[in-house]
Assembly symmetry: C2
Homo-oligomer: 418 residues x 2
Amino acid sequence: MTVTEQMVKVAEDAKNASQILSNLSSGVKNELLKRMAQGLINHAEELIEINGKDLSAAREAGLAPAMIDRLVIDMTTVRSMADGLREVAELPDPVGEVTGMWTRPNGLQIGRMRIPLGVIGIIYESRPNVTADAAGLCIKSGNAVILRGGKEAIHSNLAIGKILKNELERMNLPSACLQVIETTDRDAILELLKQEESIDLIIPRGGEGLIRFVSENSRIPVIKHYKGVCHTFVDSSADYNEAEKICLNAKVQRPGVCNAMETLLIHQDIAETFVPRIAAAMRANGVELRGCESVREFAPDTLLATEEDWHAEYLDLTLAVRVVENINAAIAHIHKYGSLHTEVIVTRDYENSRRFIREINSSVVMVNASSRFSDGNQFGLGAEIGISTTKLHSFGPMGLEDLTTRKFIVYGEGQVRT
Amino acid sequence: MTVTEQMVKVAEDAKNASQILSNLSSGVKNELLKRMAQGLINHAEELIEINGKDLSAAREAGLAPAMIDRLVIDMTTVRSMADGLREVAELPDPVGEVTGMWTRPNGLQIGRMRIPLGVIGIIYESRPNVTADAAGLCIKSGNAVILRGGKEAIHSNLAIGKILKNELERMNLPSACLQVIETTDRDAILELLKQEESIDLIIPRGGEGLIRFVSENSRIPVIKHYKGVCHTFVDSSADYNEAEKICLNAKVQRPGVCNAMETLLIHQDIAETFVPRIAAAMRANGVELRGCESVREFAPDTLLATEEDWHAEYLDLTLAVRVVENINAAIAHIHKYGSLHTEVIVTRDYENSRRFIREINSSVVMVNASSRFSDGNQFGLGAEIGISTTKLHSFGPMGLEDLTTRKFIVYGEGQVRT
């Protein structure tokens, strides 16, 4: 089979499997996920051994230690994948929920019912645990899933896929509910992205290059989990202690993730007091600052920020800092440089809290809390498949519910239109 | 300016305008829509005169009479556009609605608030009334709109756009809230479809060719309003009178629209009685039948249906008819040939009604009612921008609410993550 034929088959098999999967009861899906979790535990040694192949190949290819680190499967990784599947099994099933029902004057009763999207393709890089995590969320929400991981983790991904598929087969369910693409050929992605008749959604997870490649080439709708250039605006009325605590947490608690703060905006009326204070606190935590001229006035050791710094997602202990004239300037800065991820205002002013919530249309807008809370688990949605920065369908932390759509259901007694 | 530069400017202007539009109160937006309606009425004569240019060009180009018919603007068309805008002004504003709010154990209060999508591009053919109808829905939901109609209606579209923009300017609102693309160059569409940084959603409205062109070339999410191959399944337990009434209405009340029935499936146990009856009734209404061998057994004058007929969206007084073994075969037929638009079961059997509702995942699934009800107005959503057959974001009749997305809003008291 050519790559095209292979991908057409993968997509069609998934579509056929999805019709069975979409009608499974929650009980059957939960049982399946728990068995998959146990399957991973039972085959942990085998999995860790196969993972060794990817690790040696990575070392031979001279991959950076941080990259190799992401590939490692050990007992902790296996347990965490298994726990993840069990947690998803415990979450409420969104499928079948009727989100509203009303009666029309002619007696027609109309409602909207949650149904699976159908077939979801996940295209990801490095971390092999995504294979189990994404599969769990897709299956729980009644969707067939096609997984295409990075070539660095191909042996590990296939091995995880085999263990999970084994449990599908043992429960007499179509094994095409979950497919891991075997070829690491990039053409396979291109062919997959053309199967709009069978695949309903593509989610790319990885770096900017991968996301661009996928969204430029896909005929299937794509939900991007793109970068987080998250802002915190410290208003003139802010409580300094609270502001310092929130800013430090947002920057240093885990700098390498998308909900960490990248740019700090400070109201000019408090710059003289707050800039030296936060600069000292940040430096004490190993953070390098890049500031505008006004910041440098009150914290002279600060590097001068360039235009690039306002766009930067450092994912590191680096912070861009800017003094702004007022809340209008803060909002304008966020509109210009933000990535629609998460923005925070620290304030004691009622009107400004309202304005910030109303006028900032990023996926998450917060008052007086650390941007690090921008997360499906922290929000109480359960596990998340990512944080969408695409406005359509799902915006912000994306849980099980957002892996479904809604159909209209209509109950009549012979009504016809006149 | 090159076409590329023009389209970049159009998209950026729209994005800037959308930031103002997204924060307008309902009162201001409603006032604007009412003034736009009055503007159309006040300039009706001028508009009808300009429309004459498109009509003569169409006649010169030898367009089919049906095509020319769709281009005509007369007093009825103008009044209907104005009424449409006034009706949208009366609809509830979805923007700002908080669809849920909950408190986490750490005291964080989290909610989801409806916000406009931002900038919506509508790419459509022929009918110039779409210019006003689509503009009204987009503006009411706080979205800037970019309109790109067919070249046959270019003078009419620009004239309608000018009247509507005039009212924006009179209310000191950015005129880029509404833009009608002036060039009829097809390259302009291609360039527009690349502006993913500024445009949030593309809705193509028109024939299969246009929709394919747009979805294959767009980097921006596309919601398709595709064809309706709508099925009605008459179950063995159906009341014959009710079934006949529903089928006739679904086929002949307005055959040229996407929610008309195209394929009738009949349970084999009632074929001997119901096939001759419905065949006679359809023929009495001028409907040509194309049936399977079993249909021809009980209605001998029927043409033999080919594989193509099961896929066909006739939009005409033609109907494909098939006798099926049971509800499983009916569901399998719909899965294979359906277009995810609207499917109906006529039955008196409780279990089959439940199975049909549960197992058919088209955008609208009905029991004992005519498929012709599949419509935003009929469902009580108010005016609709179309009927989406894309599962993502909006599936089925698409009203104002589906032109919005939801952001997360978070109220804290200094919480940080540990």
